[in-house]
């Protein structure tokens, strides 16, 4: 006890708040994965409002204070706009699978590479250093716009912001660690209509970011085993793929939820998918896309040198083909698979043409 404390005086204590708290007597218990967000979905604390009237930033389930200030102008306040059924799981997984680009990448395995290969790797790293944080900037913006009643979904987005910061960082590190440097930016994520940045609806943004954009990148990261030239690069791509898979899962699960709960938005989502598909292989946001100069860099890396460009290009086509295949799987899983059967989507045709 501090000597500065005088215990002679008696104070009035306002304990009226004790009579006005949230549901009482709750005792969530840890399961085999510890005390997860799913474990604390108990009693009224698990009740998710379809439409949130929370304008004060109140934690879900806390007692309302009539005189509280209305500080939360939350534009995302309808459950179907942002919800996904496995948010708790994705958030907890993100916490478990954090990694450090400073200490978890075996940087000592980097060795001098032939000039063309180093340039190709640095071009790819410049591209990722540039575009990875679009997936940090944009979800961050949507966190501030979303009611805290949907805290589980917001927490997953917070984890994504962290993941993307690490991606931006690891690719910069690689570009500057092996005798190379950054190269010319791609401009792949800039301010034009239909871009991830400028979407004014969360689901529109998520469709572009999570399903098509990050989906294409995920396929590529998963093939990092093929174009990584050493253990440092392979580890880098492997760990990024692990993070990216969670982000893509967010988008798929959100679309699935929206498809089930807001059928009136089905046609609108189909339109976003139409746009996304137009950009899937031809757009510059896909580093393996037909219009991207990173494709040449990838062909060099996949071939193991400029002298094996043709061989590398054949492997690049395999990546593109996989991107289409995995994209279709995701869209089917999200509940929009009809488009591949009713002729609306040209992806099945394009997939067949690459076979």
């Amino acid at each position: 006890m501090s000597e500065a404390v005088d215990t002679q005086k008696e104070y009035e204590l306002d304990t009226s708040w004790m009579e006005n708290m949230g549901e009482w007597g709750v005792k969530a218990t840890p399961g085999k994965r510890g005390l997860t967000l799913a474990d604390i979905q108990v009693g009224s604390y698990a009740e998710l409002p379809e439409v949130s009237d929370n304008m004060t930033g109140r934690p879900r389930g806390a007692a309302v204070r009539p005189e509280a200030f209305r500080v939360g102008a939350y534009s995302v306040h309808t459950l179907s706009e942002i919800w996904l059924d496995n948010a708790e799981f994705l958030y907890e997984e993100a916490l478990q699978r954090q990694w450090s680009s400073a200490t978890d990448i075996p940087w000592h395995t980097l060795e001098p590479l032939p000039d063309a290969v180093e340039e190709a790797e640095c071009l790819l790293c410049t591209f990722f250093n540039e575009v990875e944080f679009v997936a940090g900037d944009v979800p961050a913006r949507w966190i501030a716009k979303t009611t805290p009643d949907y805290l589980e979904a917001r927490n997953v987005l917070s984890a994504q912001v962290m993941d993307e910061a690490r991606h931006m960082d690891v690719f910069r590190k690689r570009a500057l660690a092996n005798g190379g440097g950054l190269m010319r930016m791609s401009g792949a994520t800039s301010g034009f209509v239909g871009s991830i940045d400028l979407a004014r609806d969360f689901t529109e943004m998520s469709t572009r970011l999570h399903i098509s954009g990050e989906g294409a990148v995920l396929t590529m990261f998963r093939m990092g085993e093929l174009f990584g030239q050493n253990e440092a690069e392979k580890t880098m791509y492997r760990l990024c793929a692990q993070d990216e898979a969670r982000h893509v899962a967010f988008g798929v699960m959100h679309l699935r939820c929206l498809s089930a709960t807001a059928p009136e938005r089905h046609e609108e989502i189909e339109c976003y998918l139409d746009e996304a598909e137009g950009q899937l292989l031809a757009g510059q946001q896909n580093p393996a896309g037909t219009q991207a100069e990173t494709s040449e860099a990838l062909a060099i890396l996949l071939g193991g040198g400029a002298e094996h460009y043709d061989e590398g290009h054949k492997k690049l086509l395999v990546i593109r083909r996989r991107q289409l295949k995995e994209y279709m799987k995701r869209v089917i899983s999200a509940g929009f698979g009809d488009r591949f059967e009713n002729g609306r989507s040209s992806i099945p045709e394009r997939y067949a043409a690459t076979g």
Partner: protein
Amino acid sequence: MSEKMTESMSEDEPTQGVPEPTYDWMGLTNQWGTRVKPGEHGLRLGDLNVGIYGEVPEYWDDQTRRPRGALPRAGIPPLPYSLRSKHEMWADCAADLYEEAIQRRWIPATEVPWDTLKELPEDVERAICQICTELSQCANTELEIITYWQDRMSYGYFEVKQYLATATFDCARHLEVMRKRALSNGGGLGIESRGRVNRMILESSGGWTEAVVYLYLLRGTYITRLLTGLLSFAHNDAETFIYSHMLEDHARHMTYGYDHLKYAATHHEGATDIMRTLLAIGEGHMANELKDGVVSSAMAIIFGGGIQGGRTYGMERYLLLVREFLEDYLSVCEWLGVDRRESLHPMLKSYLED
């Protein structure tokens, strides 16, 4: 290549021609031959600041996502980055704090020894749950104001954006862990905050520096003392773990906040005058929030071991906490060059005089 991958590739083997490469992109670099080596703490973000890659300009007029040091490309439509001056966000410690946050990550689900929670007297449990509710709402405000500003910050100052990404994640974890504590020991959430200071922070949308004045210098300094007090009076290992780790995260946030304000104060003419004006207004809101009986009585009950003890020792201990907060606050203000000792809001001054 693994056998599985080779097999799977042949199954997907496409049959298209090979276009002639242009290699137009080759040789396009501002600086080549950079070879940063990992140090004893690995390859850290700050280590990368070599040559032109370490040149941080006072003003970044590029509204694209061009990485600092990369070559620009003509014709790229701009993005709405509104913070483009270094003094609007910079702190020299940002890169180090980013790496530290990653190294010191923790997981509430599996690292907090939840099995050490034991039943507490109801008044104490209610007080803890009320404080958890309050701190959860403070973390929510911090999360919302950071994410409001994050995507307005230029890429030229990416170290700050990256550090703030860790702070965003920390806030999400604080929201989570406070909720978990409130719902795991026979209690529940309390009553929401009146939200005076939350409003003040969220409405400081004129600039990030202005938000930092309220978020960290005024509110954050108080939260530091609150968490320190809670740690001193933790009832079990679970609470000790929670408060000590929250405090560690919060200390990083405060380091950035103070460092940024110092940078702004010393690099932007008129910044200290603006801070002084903001603080003159903010202190009034802070004083009114401190007068609100919910947090003070809940803390007094925790310190006093119950309502009875809260009326004597507990409230005295809380008032000491407020005095310590104000002394910290005044010291930092003085260090920043915005001395508030003489002009401190009278309601706050009264805590120091008692």
